[in-house]
């Protein structure tokens, strides 16, 4: 005989449809959203990784002042590489953007056509898809520069430009102001006399095994090429941000999503826990009777687990369907909104399935099983008597008569339902965690922009790009000559300009921390820009450095030469107020000495006005307000959508939890409410007695959770940002976020309270007569 209790399932679902719908929504959204994100991420990462082979992405590129002669090319290729021409030209277009135009590539760094086609004749152009989107350009539109017009015939992704960095030295890319494009070969031929850049890409004949070998190979290669060619630029692939940035960032996003997922899993498990608990409270007498009749504990555990299991499984199926369709598309759009990725194929992600479906299911089974086992281990007698708290009833807490009767009544309700209210507190806390997570980032980024702008070292910082041939040659005499020549090129007459030296080292990644670049600035005596007295031992770290790593005066920082076994230790003597980057400041003499550089050596200028008399090809990096805020602006673009989704999701979660928990408290008090109704209390009075305590708890929970949240979330954010990003964002919590969250909490509760108020009206007086002890 089939267990007749199974017949309850559908009716149970029907009778408590509100509860199951909200749980269903919660689960579908959690599973769908996170699996969509992970599936999109994995599909993207796969497409990204496969693009290396599929589109034959270069192992590196170099730019020479002149076109290579065939003998030069041959000589270079004898160094174990194959060299491909990858010339480009940069053009300023009428929409005030710069496009780097290549001839269509057939052998290396091939082009992925996302929409339309490749150019086939003069006057046609295929532009980067993301650049097009950011500038509102479509196929068929016209792009023009200095009288020349181009018809856009295709939207493409250049495999070596998944992140549109203009210069490899830029801290962040800006896909609105800079884009890449390809034109037909014939069209490109016409540019040949027009400021063409002789860029060459190479492929190793034998791929290096790891980054260290890659570094050795590329270093040797650079020295070798520099002997024969006047190099303007030399970027091996592993250092090329345009190629590597995307992969690193997608992996970083995943880490953030996983934190979110764990919060959601806890909340889901928790919702199941309270639901089960509520069901047992409600059905204690029936359960006790069934147990007394001979039903085994396992039969009942199985029965009460069926409904949550069915709901979870259905939610998981629908969640996964939505995850692989709707949510995946949303997340893919998010990635395409940030990066110039090639086309992708959706892949089945076992990791996403495991994390979003299998783990929640297991947690749900485990939690419900533990709660049911615990509750059903009570004797049938206790269940029949509804004595299911497992504790003996203590004497009533004395409340003085000076407290008004209604207040005493409410205090009694608070005490009676303390466990429910505790659950409510944790529920609201978790929902707030998520909401906080989504709401605090945008203001934090805006604040960061302001802070960074205020604490700029100078309005413009120019860092030179040393032509590779100028110094790294083995012929000392010619090196000296080229150096003098080079010095001449980097002089300026701008009175605001102040020389400084700079050197890049890397952190050593202690305790599994991310290895990142640290810029060491050597400042001249009596600097106008870094106003501190430097002596031989002064080593100041930037406030961002101090904040990120929790460093203090007296600590020793160890930094290393990238890819070399050379370490430097600096004892911190203080902090310099600079939030724009991870930097160390010392006197120029001190830095040059430490790094074995000439006393006169300098690497750039600080200046409050623009320097116009140095050729841009000698300037590797310019740091100004625009570049410093580029990080936060790009983060706003790439994470903005995600944050709005998190906001939306947490608001739904908030509503679901408040609804479920308030419902639970009223349901637990149905008999008492019915009884006071019999006694003659009005609906309003009953609401004051039974809804008001919940309102007080909601308000108190919200207010108490904020300081805890701030403390916890700042900690979580610090860990997350530390893992995710190079550089640092000053963590600042916008006070208005608290106000918004509080108001949102109140409005949500008010809606729920209205529903509960109506429900009070429906509670029949006969309820009080049922199951009386």
């Amino acid at each position: 005989m089939k267990n007749p209790l199974n017949k309850r399932l559908f009716r149970e679902l029907k009778s408590d449809i509100g509860k199951y719908i909200v749980i269903f929504i919660l689960l579908v959204l959690s599973i769908g959203f996170v699996s969509g994100f992970l599936v999109a991420g994995e599909s993207m990462i796969k497409a990204y990784k496969e693009s290396f082979e599929k589109y034959t992405i270069e192992n590196g590129n170099f730019r020479s002042e002149e076109k290579l002669t065939s003998s030069q090319k041959e000589w270079i290729e004898q160094r174990g590489i194959t060299v491909y021409e990858n010339f480009y030209i940069e053009k300023e277009f009428n929409n005030e953007t710069t496009i780097r135009i290549y001839a269509n590539r057939e052998e290396i760094d091939k082009v992925c056509v996302m929409d339309g086609r490749l150019p086939e004749k003069n006057g046609e152009i295929a532009i980067d898809r993301m650049y097009a989107e950011n500038n509102g350009l479509r196929i068929g539109d016209e792009l023009s520069e200095e009288g020349n017009g181009y018809k856009i015939v295709g939207l493409v992704a250049l495999s070596d430009y998944s992140a549109l960095f203009y210069s490899n030295n830029d801290m962040m890319f800006d896909a609105s102001a800079f884009g890449v494009a390809v034109v037909d070969k014939e069209q490109f031929e016409e540019y040949l006399d027009d400021g063409i850049r002789y860029n060459y890409s190479w492929l190793y004949d034998e791929e290096p095994e790891d980054e260290i070998q890659e570094k050795d190979l590329s270093d040797e290669l650079m020295e070798a090429i520099a002997q024969k060619v006047s190099l303007e630029n030399f970027i091996p692939r592993y250092l090329n941000q345009s190629i590597t940035f995307t992969g690193e960032d997608i992996v970083g996003d995943k880490a953030m999503m996983e934190v979110l997922l764990y919060i959601i899993i806890i909340i889901t498990a928790f919702v199941f826990g309270i639901t089960i608990n509520n069901t047992i409270h409600k059905e204690a007498c029936v359960i006790g009777t069934l147990r007394a009749s001979g039903y085994t504990r396992n039969e009942l555990i199985k029965h009460y687990m069926e409904m949550p299991l069915i709901v979870t499984i259905i939610s998981a199926v629908i969640g996964n369907i939505l995850g692989y369709t709707f949510f995946k598309n949303v997340c893919v759009d998010m990635y395409y909104g940030s990066y110039s990725l090639p086309t992708y194929v959706t892949i089945w992600s076992s990791e996403a399935f495991f994390k979003t479906t299998f783990i929640p299911l297991v947690i749900m089974i485990a939690i419900t099983h533990v709660i049911l086992r615990k509750k059903l281990s009570l004797s049938p007698l206790k269940l029949i008597r509804r004595d299911i708290s497992g504790k003996k009833q203590n004497n009533a807490i004395k409340l003085g008569n000076s407290i008004r009767f209604f207040d005493r009544f409410r205090i009694r309700i608070l005490i009676q339902n303390k466990s429910s209210y505790l659950i409510l507190f944790f529920g609201l806390f978790f929902a707030n965690v998520l909401l906080f997570f989504g709401m605090m980032l945008p203001p934090l980024l805006i604040h960061f922009q302001g802070v960074v702008t205020q604490s700029m070292l100078a309005k413009h910082i120019y860092l030179f790009q040393v032509p590779a041939g100028a110094i790294d040659t083995q012929d000392q005499l010619s090196a000296a000559f080229s150096y003098i020549f080079y010095q001449n090129k980097i002089s300026t007459n701008n009175p605001d300009a102040e020389k400084f030296s700079a050197y890049s080292l890397k952190t050593i990644g202690e305790n599994g921390a991310r290895v990142e670049e640290v810029t060491l600035y050597g400042v001249i005596d009596d600097s106008r820009y870094i106003q501190t007295d430097f002596d031989e031992k002064t080593v100041l770290i930037s406030s961002a450095y101090e904040d990120k790593y929790g460093l203090k005066k007296g600590d020793v920082i160890t930094l290393k030469e990238p890819y070399e076994d050379k370490y430097y230790g600096f004892k911190i003597t203080g902090t310099y107020d600079y939030d724009g980057g991870i930097a160390v400041f010392m006197s120029k003499k001190h830095l040059n000495e430490t790094m074995g550089l000439d006393e006169e050596y300098f690497s750039g200028y600080f200046s409050d006005s623009e320097i116009t008399d140095i050729d841009s090809k000698y300037i590797g990096t310019t740091i100004d307000e625009e570049t410093l805020t580029r990080v936060s602006r790009q983060l706003m673009i790439s994470m903005g959508n995600l944050m709005y989704m998190v906001d939306g999701f947490s608001i739904i979660l908030f509503i679901v939890l408040i609804y479920l928990l308030s419902k639970l408290i009223i349901e637990r008090n149905v008999q008492s409410i019915s009884m006071v109704k019999i006694l003659g209390y009005s609906k309003k009075e009953i609401a004051l007695l039974y809804i008001m305590p919940t309102a007080i708890v909601v308000v108190a929970s919200l207010l108490i959770s904020y300081p805890i949240l701030s403390y916890v979330m700042v900690g979580v954010f610090r860990v997350m940002l530390k893992q995710m990003m190079s550089g640092w964002l000053i963590i600042w919590l916008d006070p208005s976020v608290y106000v918004k969250m509080f108001l949102m909490g109140l409005v949500t509760y008010a809606v729920t309270a209205i529903i509960e108020y109506r429900k009070i009206g429906y509670i029949p007086m006969s309820e009080a007569l049922k199951n009386v002890e």
Partner: protein
């Protein structure tokens, strides 16, 4: 001998608050007997019934059912014992609210390898026409009939009834008592009924009067009346 209680003691609370609910109870019940445990509130009659039913434990003493000691049973064996041998009827019906009358009776039938015919039971209990109703559509008396159906459908050796008419009016109470009597006669189950209603003792084969946890009097009822003849 179907049931034998030897020196059953039970108390609640600790030290100063300790209350002895049952003080050395000894009792023997024969198969098929209709036993009434009679006593005022607090006399220990429900506790005794619960101990017999295996849903409460005695502090000391022995309960032997069909020659087997209950004190040797672990939780699992006790559940099996209830499953195979006992039927329970409470003052409150504790029906499953979202199952129909028939389905509530099936809940009991599921537990038995050889359940009685559900239609027959519903006929006996006068529930046939209500079989597709859910409990909230029934009167108190009908709900109790349904609870009786759930208890007897598995044809238990012993039917334990804890104040089964406590929440019912006079007329309905008599109907329910008649039904239990009919079940006892028709199926031959042993019935142990707890009540504080003195009149009900007259329908019993064996009457046990309890007060303050002690059996004040127990006797075989020689002048047994039919339930319908009772009056109070």
């Amino acid at each position: 001998m179907q049931l034998e209680l030897q020196n059953i003691k039970k108390s609640y609370g600790e030290s100063d608050n300790r209350i002895e609910v049952l003080k050395d109870i000894n009792l023997s019940v024969e198969k098929g007997e209709f036993v009434v445990l009679l006593g005022p509130s607090g006399s220990g009659k429900s506790t005794l019934l619960n101990i017999i039913g295996g849903i409460d434990n005695a502090d000391s003493g022995k309960i032997i059912i069909r020659g087997k000691s209950m004190s040797d049973m672990d939780d699992k064996s006790l559940t099996n014992y209830r499953r195979e041998h006992l039927g329970y009827i409470f003052q409150m019906y504790n029906l499953i609210p979202n199952l129909t009358v028939r389905e509530n009776i099936e809940v009991g039938a599921y537990l038995s390898k050889n359940p009685l015919d559900i239609d027959e039971i519903m006929g006996v209990l006068g529930l046939a026409e209500h079989q597709n109703k859910i409990p909230s559509q029934l009167s108190g008396g009908q709900q109790q009939r349904c609870a009786i159906g759930r208890a007897i459908v598995k044809n238990p050796d012993i039917l334990l009834c804890d104040e089964p008419t406590g929440a019912l009016d006079y007329k309905t109470s008599k109907e329910i008592l008649s039904l239990i009597e009919e079940v006892n006669q028709k199926y031959g189950n042993t019935v142990i009924m707890v009540t504080h209603n003195d009149a009900i003792k007259n329908m019993a084969d064996f009457v046990v009067k309890l007060r303050d946890g002690v059996i004040r009097k127990s006797y075989r009822n020689e002048a047994k009346q039919k339930a319908e003849e009772l009056d109070w």
